[in-house]
Subunit: 172 residues, 2 copies
């Protein structure tokens, strides 16, 4: 039976981490272009990342994999098209579908930004990194379970595997 105090401390640390990371992010990128400062793991960034795993997905596929609505997906894709990071083209097999592909610039952006190890991890030694990885694995497993439990129709099952595999690919 783990100590409640330790749990609360951890909860606090985690929140602190979230807040401070956000502020640090703003502070260190204050100078650079605001538009470039998108997180790779939300919105447009997510799409870029998904495409860098497997290019040429349909919008529907993207929405499913990233757990977004079709409308949000369309919005982000259109923004990325404007920025010349992806292209849209109608599928010839099923002309309802739109196939999204990374441009060279898009691929470059995705791989560059995704594979950088954040500075704050560099203060950890090997042992701590092992511990951290172990702990996060446990936590993530738990989160997947929570999702499964409340996702009776298993809409997420596909998405889950994609995230797991994807993350592995991006970084290794």
């Amino acid at each position: 039976m783990p100590n409640l105090l330790k749990q609360k401390t951890a909860a606090g640390k985690l929140i602190e981490f979230g807040m401070v990371r956000h502020i640090a992010d703003n502070a260190t990128h204050k100078d650079s272009d605001k538009n470039e400062r998108r997180s790779m793991f939300q919105g447009q960034g997510k799409i870029l990342l998904a495409l860098s795993q497997s290019d040429g997905l349909s919008q529907k596929e993207l929405a499913t994999r990233l757990d977004l609505t079709a409308q949000s997906t369309a919005e982000f894709v259109n923004k990325l098209v404007k920025k010349q990071l992806v292209t849209k083209e109608k599928s010839t097999k099923d002309r309802r579908m739109t196939i999204i592909r990374l441009t060279d610039l898009g691929r470059q952006t995705a791989t560059t930004e995704a594979s950088e190890v954040p500075d704050f991890l560099k203060v950890l030694n090997d042992e701590e990194l092992d511990q951290f990885n172990n702990i996060l694995t446990k936590i993530n497993t738990q989160l997947y379970e929570e999702i499964d439990n409340s996702d009776k129709q298993n809409l997420f099952s596909k998405s889950k595997q994609i995230i797991k595999d994807g993350i592995r690919d991006w970084f290794l």
Copy 2:
């Protein structure tokens, strides 16, 4: 010299954590009111939290402590007023200032929501919790340093202490 591979794994795990936590959050709260699902550590929630540490701050103070612009602060405060979670009143000493105070409902909301230990931490045993706390402390310290380095005017110095003390108070 820590192993790059381990660092990359940690970076990946962390990203996975972010994505999965987000999805789990949506999944488990799908039923409940969308409006209730605000994060306590952004926007309106941040303000509630700051006030629950020290009530009766001016908008300016809030903005400073939370690292928000005065305009964003005003927006969030106004939304909270509409929800009857805080009140605004002009200071008598300096009539430029507006003093923000929690209502009973606001105080209740803040303390209830802030002090809950997320389920995913309950899978960790005491040893892991210790490791996790130790690691997050290191990481947060590093982030504070990054902030200091790019914050020559030390605008954030105040904020920093507030976060540290505040988090300690909320959870202990």
